[in-house]
């Protein structure tokens, strides 16, 4: 479980996050949603330590990450896997080397063990036989899958996904979402997904945190969305006619 407490962040005079608190539960896909520019990605980066928050703390299973010393931060980071928006695969390495990279750096596994683990992860994300392909030779959806494989290769306790289905067609988006949810349940990890994709919100949002202008306005599950009673959330989720009619029927 990840607990965030009173996270604030400003860039120059602009306050991006204003005292966000909440809990991201283990074994569930926790979604951080909101329209563009509401601070979703900044919050995610504050949680994983890529951005230092102005105030507040992040606790990974009761371990204070924000105020941890270098060694403890390093230990916690070894338990983190992250899928970036564009995949963030290393251009100079092929698929196998990309997925194997965390094992090369963070473990003392033998080459045979590493290859076995890489093949298992690639098989798990539905990619077999692409080990020797370069990132430039695979599609956007495949890059995301390789990114997921790299994120889970070191058996993380926490999986972070920054807009995992941006730039993908709806069918591939759903496949990626389902994959993330399956992995979360299968490995019983804490998964945090930043998204503004409505299919993701309704499909895999076991716990949802809605951000609006840097504030947390609502928290709940996808089942509670329709009856949230929060106007800003309704405006965000039920924007198009289909979604509105769905809400009206409910």
């Amino acid at each position: 479980m990840i607990k965030i407490k009173d996270i604030s962040k400003s860039f120059s005079d602009k306050q991006v996050l204003a005292g966000i608190s909440g809990e991201l539960e283990k074994g569930k896909t926790n979604l951080i949603i909101g329209s563009s520019g509401t601070g979703k990605s900044v919050l995610l980066k504050c949680i994983v330590g890529l951005i230092q928050p102005d105030t507040g703390s992040v606790f990974f299973d009761l371990r204070n990450f924000t105020e941890a010393d270098k060694e403890m931060k390093s230990d916690i980071r070894r338990e983190i896997g992250m899928l970036f928006q564009g995949g963030a695969l290393f251009d100079s390495k092929n698929v196998q080397e990309n997925v194997m990279f965390p094992l090369d750096i963070l473990t003392k596994m033998s080459p045979a063990e590493k290859i076995e683990r890489v093949n298992f992860c690639l098989k798990r994300v539905g990619l077999e036989g692409v080990n020797k392909k370069m990132p430039s030779e695979i599609s956007g959806g495949m890059k995301k899958r390789v990114g997921i494989a790299r994120a889970i290769v070191n058996n993380p306790n926490y999986l972070f996904c920054d807009e995992p289905n941006s730039g993908l067609d709806p069918q591939t988006s759903i496949l990626i979402d389902e994959l993330i949810m399956e992995i979360t349940h299968e490995f019983d990890i804490t998964t945090v997904v930043v998204t503004h994709d409505m299919n993701s919100v309704l499909g895999i949002g076991e716990k949802i945190m809605f951000l609006y202008k840097g504030n947390k306005l609502w928290e709940g599950s996808n089942n509670d969305l329709i009856h949230s009673g929060v106007k800003e959330l309704d405006d965000f989720v039920f924007t198009n006619k289909v979604m509105r009619s769905l809400k009206d029927k409910a």
Binding site: K45, G49, A88, I105
Partner: protein, 199 residues
């Protein structure tokens, strides 16, 4: 190799064209070529070329890694990205650039030899005698000191510009250009101060 060979050839021709007095022996031409090549042309001109080719590549590569979140990916894994990505570039530059300059100096002297002897400006014996005449080994040490300093400056400045790129593809281009410009200015300043302090 091409640049340095022509550099030596042109220096030989121009020195020959300016030493017209019958009281100046012909071997002085190669003597001047040697001093110019070792002291200035090989380390400094090569540094400018190195900054343009390798420096811009370092800045562009690191800048691209930054904007495509590859550096963030390293940091999330708990890896010191600066140390992992930049240190090897600095070490490789400091190790390889002096070798590059040594090769460039040899090529320049060979280029001078070819042009000098083929055009009849001076005989092979005169050229070799001039190369060996009044040789000061300290100049080699001085040239190598310059190469270490230039390699360090180019690799660190270019890496810094690339590593701290923010924005998109346009900013990567700007970072590459700034890396080359800043490196060249630093090379010229360092060149002046090293000459002032060490000669």
């Amino acid at each position: 190799m091409l640049v340095s060979t022509f550099m030596g050839a042109v220096t030989t021709l121009q020195t020959g064209a300016n030493l017209v007095s019958p009281f100046v022996p012909r071997f002085i031409i190669s003597n001047v070529v040697r001093e110019m090549t070792i002291l200035e042309l090989a380390p400094t001109i090569m540094a400018v070329i190195y900054a343009g080719k390798v420096g811009s590549s370092m800045a562009g590569g690191l800048g691209t890694m930054r904007i495509t979140e590859q550096i963030d990916a390293l940091e999330v894994m708990g890896i010191n990205a600066a140390s992992y990505l930049v240190l090897p570039k600095i070490v490789a530059s400091i190790l390889m650039y002096p070798l590059l300059v040594i090769v460039a100096a040899v090529c320049a002297l060979m280029g001078g030899y070819l042009v000098g002897t083929l055009t009849g400006l001076l005989t092979p014996t005169e050229y070799v005698y001039g190369i060996r005449y009044a040789f000061n080994p300290y100049f080699i040490t001085f040239a190598l000191i310059k190469t270490f300093v230039f390699a360090f400056l180019i690799s660190t400045i270019s890496s810094f510009k690339g590593y701290y790129t923010q924005g998109g593809a346009l900013e990567v281009g700007i970072a590459s250009t700034q890396a080359v410009t800043s490196s060249i200015i630093a090379i010229l300043l360092a060149d002046y101060f090293l000459a002032y302090l060490l000669i």
